[in-house]
C-alpha cells in the first residue's frame, strides 16, 4: 500500500469554525490531490498540487484552501465550515503525469461532520 496517512480520521465540528485536514505521504510523490466523496456524486476534486507551493483549484474548490510547504504534506483548510461540507475527504498521490505512472493512490479518508 502507498504510504499515505490522513489526520484526523474523524472530526465533528461546528458551523463557522475553521478546520484543517492533513495528508502525509512517505512516497516522495510530486502530485497530491484532495477529493470529497458524497452519495450520488462519486468523488469530486477540490484542489491539487503539482509541487511544493504549486497548487490549483479543482471542481469544487469554493470554501476550501490548501497549502503545501513540504513534499510530504498537503493541508486542506475549511476556512469557515458549513453543513454542506459534511463529507468524507480523501487525499491521493501520484508519482508523475506520464501515462504509465500517474495512477492515483488514495489515503484512508477523513470523515468530517459539521453541525
Amino acid at each position: 500500500d502507498a504510504g499515505i496517512t490522513q489526520s484526523p480520521r474523524h472530526k465533528v465540528t461546528e458551523t463557522g469554525t475553521p478546520v484543517t485536514l492533513r495528508c502525509h505521504q512517505t512516497e516522495n510523490h510530486r502530485y497530491m490531490y484532495w477529493y470529497r466523496q458524497d452519495p450520488g456524486h462519486g468523488l469530486r476534486l477540490i484542489h491539487y498540487s503539482y509541487g511544493v507551493k504549486d497548487t490549483d483549484k479543482g471542481e469544487v474548490s469554493d470554501g476550501y484552501s490548501v497549502s503545501r510547504s513540504k513534499t510530504e504534506d498537503f493541508l486542506l483548510t475549511l476556512e469557515s465550515a458549513t453543513s454542506s461540507q459534511t463529507s468524507v475527504y480523501f487525499c491521493a498521490i501520484s508519482e508523475s503525469v506520464l501515462p504509465t505512472t500517474d495512477t492515483q493512490y488514495f489515503g484512508p479518508g477523513t470523515r468530517l461532520t459539521v453541525l
Binding site: 490531490y33 456524486h41 476534486l45 491539487y48 503525469v97 501515462p99 500517474d102 492515483q104 493512490y105 489515503g107
Partner: protein, 114 residues
C-alpha cells in the same frame, strides 16, 4: 465540462453469473481508471486503460476501453461474494506538468448474493 456516467448504479447478482458495468464519458481522454471501494474503506486501484482497444484482466474482472465511443466496460465473470463492493470509473484530464485531474462516475454498488 467532462461528464462521466456509469450504469447501472446498483447491481444485485447471483454468484456464478456474468455481468457488465458501463462507463461513458463526454470528452476525449487518453486514460481511464477503474477503482474498487469496500464499505467504509479507501479506493483501491484496479485497472488503468491507456489506449483504444486496451483490455486488462485480473481474476474475474476484465476492463476494456473504446476511445472512439468514449466507453469503458468492466466485465464480471462468474461472480463470487468477495466481489461485492462499489466500483468507480474515472477519466483523466490534464497531465503535462500540472497533474492528472480525475473525474469520477457515481459508482456502481455491486452485491453478489449466494
Amino acid at each position: 465540462e467532462l461528464k462521466v456516467e456509469q450504469n447501472p448504479l446498483f447491481l444485485s447478482m447471483q454468484e456464478g453469473k456474468n455481468y457488465t458495468i458501463y462507463c461513458n464519458y463526454s470528452t476525449t481522454s487518453d486514460r481511464l481508471y477503474w477503482y474498487r471501494q469496500d464499505p467504509g474503506k479507501s479506493l483501491e486501484s484496479l485497472f488503468v486503460l491507456l489506449s483504444n482497444g486496451a483490455v486488462k484482466q485480473e481474476g474475474r474482472l476484465m476492463a476494456s476501453l473504446d476511445t472512439k465511443a468514449r466507453l469503458s466496460t468492466l466485465h464480471i465473470t462468474a461472480a463470487v461474494h468477495d466481489l461485492s463492493a462499489t466500483y468507480f470509473c474515472a477519466v483523466a484530464l490534464g497531465g503535462k506538468t500540472s497533474g492528472s485531474r480525475l473525474t469520477f462516475g457515481e459508482g456502481t454498488q455491486l452485491t453478489v448474493n449466494p
